[in-house]
Structure formats: C-alpha cells, structure tokens
Symmetry: C2
Subunit: 327 residues, 2 copies
C-alpha cells in the first residue's frame, strides 16, 4: 500500500520530504526504487522516524497496521512533531467506542500540537459517504444493509493468515469459540454512519462466518493450493440497532477469488422509498490509497484533534496536491 500511495502522491505533485521504513531491505534505498517507480525520487528510506519528522512536514501518510492500540506510538510520534497524519489504519475511522483510551489520548495530543489525525480509505467513499448521500433521498429509514466483497489476495500473506486462510473449518470454529474474533472496520464504519446521521446506537453485535472452499482454490499471497473444506475467507458482519428505530448492517466478505471475480459494493435501504446503490468491480485496494491521497488537503485544513470520518467533510477529487509551496 505504501508503494502505491507513493506513486499516487508523486503523480499529484506532492513534494515528498522524507520516507520512513522498518524493513532492512528497504532502509537506505531510494523511495522511488523501493516503491517500484521508474525513477529515483532523491529521497532515501530512513529507519529513524523521529529524525525524519524533526525536519518538518505538512502531513505524514501512514500505511501500517489495522488497530489503534498498535498504531498509537507511531501516530503520537508524528503528532508530537507537529505533523498532521492521514492513515489507512481502519479503527481510526471511528475509534471512540472500540479504542476509547487510545483515541482520547491521541485527540488530546493532536489538539495540544495544533495538528489533525484522520483515517481514510475505500470505506470513506463506498461505505460511509456514498451511503449517507444516498440517504439524503430517503423519506423514512427502516434498515440500511451493506454487503461488500474484497479479495484477500490483494493484501498479502499477513492478512491471509489473520483470516485463517487455508485452515480447516473445524479449526477456525474452535479458534473463534476459544479466543473470539476481533471486530473489524465494519463496526467502525457503521458507527461513523450512525453518528453522521445524528442517530444513537442502542445495541451493536458482530459475528464472523467462515467461507469454506467447496473445490480446491489457489491462494496467491500464501502460495498454497487450498483443499475443499478449508477456510478461503470470512464474512465479518456488524449489526447496529439505533434508538431511533433504524437498523444498520454491514457484511464484509473477504475471500479468495475465482477467475473473473471482482470486488463489489452493494447497499439496500429499506423504508420509504426502497433505495439501492451498487459499485460493481470497485477496486478496494486502489481506492483505499486514492481516497486517502485525495483526503490530504482536507486533513491539513481540518481543525486540530483526532477526527473520526463522520466529522470530516465529504471526500472529493483533488486534481493536484499543493499542500504547501516548496521554498
């Protein structure tokens, strides 16, 4: 994701002033080379984040991690240096209930330093703002039901292992029964949507269902062929009931694809009138990066603090990034 974000930033004329990496096979090399661009950028990847941040920047683009607890020290380091942060880390989309202490601390730190921390990604456009905009045509909402399908193989071996891809179904069920299953971005996105609509959460429930291979299927990111009966994905579902009576549901089906399958986004609104929205073939991986890059001027212009997505303006296309002029 960092490599793709780098290419999009360069395309849009962002002035990149530093690059931070951890992997020994990246540190010391030119960012253009590490990101697979066809030219050098004259920016070396550095391991010491504090040194890079101390040189100053309008914003840090942070493309690591999915939970706020793990990301807190990284975000804190940026904010401490007076650098705004935009990230694809999913919990920051609406961290107030699932990461209360971390989000309050980061909000206070951002305010103390006069900078902003905000998350974006495909969910910003496809699961929050398109849906909220569609509801602008609704007279009465009974239920809002979303279903998206994403390709596990788009996100590398770490995500595939996190979803237990290739494990026997019985083992998956035993794992969930024993350890539970962490809530994923479906919950945060729905909470942001409910908050944007000015509604109040009455109850929330989340569950996970394994998607089991009925025929052998190849997992590119793990380099293994799955047998029938093994887990080829999961459906993470969150349901929120509101005090106002409307119900919100989002099922995220992340799995391996067979030939010709593409990402999908479908929302149905029950009530008066019946409404629907579909983005067929929505490229979630790419649009996670492109939406985040389009968000940069919004984050720089936003008031200080940790801003959940319901507090941000509607996302918009940015033809060029001119956050600040080079000296």
């Amino acid at each position: 994701m960092g490599a793709l974000a780098t290419r999009l930033l360069v395309d849009k004329g962002a002035q990149i002033v530093g690059a931070i990496g951890r992997s020994p096979d990246k540190v010391g090399r030119d960012l253009g080379e590490v990101a697979g661009l066809d030219r050098r950028l004259g920016i070396a990847v550095e391991a010491n984040a504090a040194e890079v941040l101390a040189r100053g920047a309008d914003i840090a683009v942070v493309c690591v991690g999915s939970y706020l607890a793990t990301m807190r020290p990284h975000f804190a380091l940026c904010l401490d240096h007076g650098v705004n942060v935009v990230t694809i880390e999913e919990e920051t989309v609406f961290p107030w209930t699932t990461a209360q202490e971390d989000s309050k601390a980061l909000d206070a730190l951002a305010k103390a330093n006069g900078v902003t921390l905000a998350a974006s990604g495909a969910q910003d456009v496809f699961w929050l703002n398109l849906v909220a905009t569609l509801l602008g045509a609704s007279h009465r909402i009974e239920a809002v039901v979303g279903r998206c399908v994403w390709n596990v193989d788009d996100y590398g071996p770490e995500v595939a292992r996190h979803l237990h891809i290739g494990r026997p179904e019985v083992e998956f069920d035993r794992h969930v029964a024993t350890f539970g299953w962490p809530e994923f971005v479906a919950r945060q996105t729905l909470e942001a949507l409910v908050s944007r609509l000015g509604m109040t959460v009455a109850s929330t429930s989340s569950d996970v269902t394994p998607v089991v291979a009925s025929d052998p299927i190849y997992c590119r990111s793990l380099g293994v062929e799955l047998k029938a009966g093994e887990v080829m994905g999961t459906i993470d579902r969150t349901v929120i009931d509101t005090r106002e009576g409307a119900r919100f549901e989002l099922s995220m089906e992340g799995r391996l694809y067979r030939e010709g399958e593409t990402d999908d986004n479908q929302w149905d609104v029950f009530g008066e009138p019946r409404l629907s929205l579909r983005n067929a073939g929505v490229p979630y991986r790419f649009t996670t990066c492109s939406t985040m890059v389009n968000r940069i001027p919004d984050v720089v212009a936003a008031p200080p603090g940790l801003l959940s997505l319901d507090e941000m303006p509607v996302p918009s296309y940015k033809r060029e990034l001119r956050v600040s002029q080079p000296d």
Copy 2:
C-alpha cells in the same frame, strides 16, 4: 408533486401555515383533501399568494415549472416577503449560464431580503452528489458518463406533450430542425458537477434523439395507445469538455415503460481507476420530493442568495423537520 410533497411534509412534522394554488377545483378546499391525505389539515388552499406570504413562513415549497424565466415572478414574490424558497424547478440547480439575467436578479433580491432560493430533487442526490462523492475515490478523471432512465408517465400529460409523445418521428425531427430543443436539467446538473469539482467549462453541447416505438405502447398520462413509429420518449444528452481535460456526459432517457421496467441511474468514470455506480429501480418522482423535503433545513440555514446546488452542502437525511417551533 405538490400532493406528494404535502404528505412528506406532514409525515416529518412540518408546521404548514399556508397553501397556494391556482386551479379553481383546488382553491378554497382543505389542503389535506386536495393532497389526497386521509385527514383534513385545517389549511385552505388560497389563490392570493401575496396574502398567504404576508402572514410569514420559514420557507415556501414551490412545485411548479421547469424553467427559471417562467418561475421568476413566483420566486420573487416569496423572496420579497422574506420567505426562503426550495423548489424542484430544474433550471435553478445551476442557472448561471442558461438564465443569466433571471438568476442574477433573483440572487440580488434574495440577498436584499436575507433569504435563500435553492432547487433540489432527485438530481441533487443521484446525478450530482453521489457522483461527486464517488469521484473522491478517483485518482485521475478522463470522462464521467451518466445515463438515467425515467418514466414519462410519472409526470402527467404536460410533460408527455412537451416530449411530443405520440407524434410521428418525422414530425419530431422536423420540429427540432425548425425550433431547436430546449436544454433540460442534464446541462444544469453537469455544470453544477463541474463547478463542484473546481473545473472550468471549455465547451458544452446538447442534443436530443427521439425514442421511437417499435411496437404499440400505451401512454397512461395521455390516455392513448401509440402506434409503431411514433415518439415514445426522448434522450436528452449534454456533453461538457473542461479546460482540465476531463469530459462529462449525461444522457437522460425519458420514455414510456413496458411492463416491469423501472427508473435507472448508472454512472461510469473512466480514468484511473475505472469506477461505476448504479441505482437500480431508483424512484425519481418520489425522491425528487423526498430529497427536496430533506433539503428544507439546509436552505433555511444557508447564507442569503440564490444558491446553485454546487454551493449547497451534501444532502442528508432528516428524520424530522423542526424548522421553527410553533408559538
């Protein structure tokens, strides 16, 4: 449309303080009865608009006419009385190029009276704001192409006659060759979109193509059976090229439906990445009213003037209308 809007206003708790009508079979009767509600509202339909407006109101909901030149005196009367206006009149969506003098005069009048005039309708959500939000995920836009289909029979005999429904194709072609064809809401909506994106119109072209019946088809609003070869609808298309290079195109196909057909909204974004959006079965007639009703608090809260839709905030769901408290 006025009857449907009345029902939605009552549903959402709006305090209706007056009703204005012209037709002798409506004037003097109770609004609830005229709107086909199952109860009286205690508000008589009155013919003298100035008298009703002089009693004061937060906003006037104006559901007549499709062009600003015809509507100017009606809007002016509301604004002169210090009453905000929301309307489904289509040109006001973006009137600055096609109705320059009328829009400037109304903008000045609204400002002088400290009130706002704005249009809304299905295009607000489905052709402007959903599309602009989708483009928040776009890295590079080459072309944005929309195609919508709407049912002529949803809008009564006046609209059917305006589209030459039931006339022979050769007669339609002769009419367009002789008199031209007025630009419809496709142009205004695209201009609002281009403006919202911060782009500049380089050139605009509009054309119309008749949709000709290949088999007999019944026109409900005119009460006639069309023969093969007669006009059963039109495709109004506007294409805008921008100085920034991106092209915008919207085709509005208004025609008679055969059994089982429904309204449709489809947008394709060419560039990087390829994006699409579809609202299958979108009920344009209903959502024109429901979106306008949801807009009421936005219009009341907006700064004074004529605000085209690109200048309005993103539309949003309103559970209740509490524009002002009753005394």
